[in-house]
Symmetry: C2
Amino acid sequence: MSVVAPAGFVAGGVASGIKPEGLDLALIDAGAPVTTAAVFTTSRTAAPPVLLGKERVRRGALRAVLVNSGCANAGTGAAGLEDARKMAASAAAVLGCPEEEVLVSSTGPIGSRLPLDLIGAALPELVAGAGSTPAHGLACAEAIMTTDSVPKTAVRHGTGFTVGGVAKGAGMLRPDMATMLAYLTTDAQVPTAAHARRILADAVGVTFNCLNVDGCQSTNDTVVLMANGASGVSPDPEELAEAVLEVCRDLTWQLARDAEGATKVVTIDVVGAASHGDARRIALAVADSALVRSSFYGADPNWGRVLAAVGVAGPAVAAEDVDIDYLDVPVCRSGAGVPFDEDLLASLLGGDFGIRIRVGDGPGACQVITTDLTPDYVRFNGERS
Amino acid sequence: MSVVAPAGFVAGGVASGIKPEGLDLALIDAGAPVTTAAVFTTSRTAAPPVLLGKERVRRGALRAVLVNSGCANAGTGAAGLEDARKMAASAAAVLGCPEEEVLVSSTGPIGSRLPLDLIGAALPELVAGAGSTPAHGLACAEAIMTTDSVPKTAVRHGTGFTVGGVAKGAGMLRPDMATMLAYLTTDAQVPTAAHARRILADAVGVTFNCLNVDGCQSTNDTVVLMANGASGVSPDPEELAEAVLEVCRDLTWQLARDAEGATKVVTIDVVGAASHGDARRIALAVADSALVRSSFYGADPNWGRVLAAVGVAGPAVAAEDVDIDYLDVPVCRSGAGVPFDEDLLASLLGGDFGIRIRVGDGPGACQVITTDLTPDYVRFNGERS
């Protein structure tokens, strides 16, 4: 049901011709301006739609989100920013609302200009055809896909309210086909945009931002939460936060499972760090290591590479405080190897698995989700686009 | 001629049996304590020989370096530190010098204990057989190899003095077979250890530390410079610094060319940054990107990925200030793509090439050397060792 599961939202997707085939233009429409929060890429070369989106979210309530796939509108300079404005204005004209109420996103190859004529021509059909059936939600999820193999949707029902979402994420693996995008909707009443922002940022911090497929952040990464209050329910703040977190977590796992070239999902749990921030830096460093991720591919419990990655992550760690477990099997204690049945353990690393790294006795813990690095990843990404 | 080119040094290499076959124990002997400087890995999980080496270099002049391949003595805890001390003491006993005058290094797989019995048994032959012919220098260079395909040596002659060196560096690619190691000797008179340290650190900063094959720093990385003054010449400080720099640069390029799985060497020149440090961070971020390095493999002038990597490197960069050239062909100006013959340019990216990235009008510049990321790299490193 995705973004149309909460009351009051319509969505849709059409084929405008930006991509050679398939749906490539998606709409999520709240019908009127609603409380909106967003988290964008921290890239200093962020794409024009991100620059415009930041401005619009800061300004106030938004009514609709228009997303195209097949072109990232990144690496397009000042002309690209003008194109993003025109794309939003075209949508606003068809929707009959001020252009400042429309957020636009773009995803696809970097470096070419948006085909505004194709977008403009398809908008009437997209707006007229938008609806709130499951098929509408699925079309929206499909239209934002680039190299994703499946559409990604999630829903959580709270006490009298609902949170839904769609995401696409080949971009974590192939920023050339740029971008991780996610859009969440809810019919819960959220007191302020600042409150929505805090809930979203907290959820993104431990889900999308703890997914590290290849260490490559995109120029277009965007996560949006729209809250229209249509349920008439003001949920318990913790219950709402938990529902948003669960939708984000669900979508994050779908992104990891669909990561191109990957054969398995691996969780890296770091515990005992001085702070959550330290634990996160260490876990991301392990998930960033090409050598560690190559060993995941080979089902090789190569804890020496993990130890080496921990040592250069940044936070102060003493080797003698490091314990490492693969699938609850101790392989390293106090920085030194301990005997284990290597063949048996390797045979268990053929599918998804988890690594646990203790780095001391501190309170900081973090889980990062990653995948194995495979020859297919390099082959796909070595091809000229 | 390598480390025996400067007057007064002897060297050698023997097969002690640590590795199934081939030379695996190397000696460089100055005959008496000489001015010694070293640069070690900054890893917080540095291996025991690195911990011991730091202590010994701080303490004072050193006479000899003993290096084994086939075992990194890393991930071995307190017992490993004791083993490193015993390895140095064994060598000192055969050389007839205090054990504090011997620096030891180890390279190979992480996690297993040093076979001290094999090392002890081979030491008399190694010490007795050491000499200063080219064959002795080559044996020393061979005995420190792990997955290197060729021994790496370099020599530069100054006005009345000589600088020589050996290095091994499969480790930049395969820290499992850990480590980048380099040893330099000179017969120049160097006034103080602090002076030697400064010359070495400056050279390492723009050579070995600007080589980034896979972003994986090892637990054992070590670069040592020994200066015995045997030439009787106190060179012009700049000439000496230049000779040390050239030997380091020569060895760095040999490491890049021998990087396992790599098919080409790519230089990343960043100019116009606010400082050298900023330029270095940006260049390393580009060289760290799995997506950028996959595109090198595919001969794909994918400047969008380069722009994305620049944007998340850390230093403040405005997209509209970014210009990118592949092989002097402009592909991006002011953050936006410019027309170029993509097929022609791609055809030129089959071998080594260079990328130039202007990020502003600042004085900071840095060149980083990297290689392409290939399916073979992942395949090699996915194999259980």
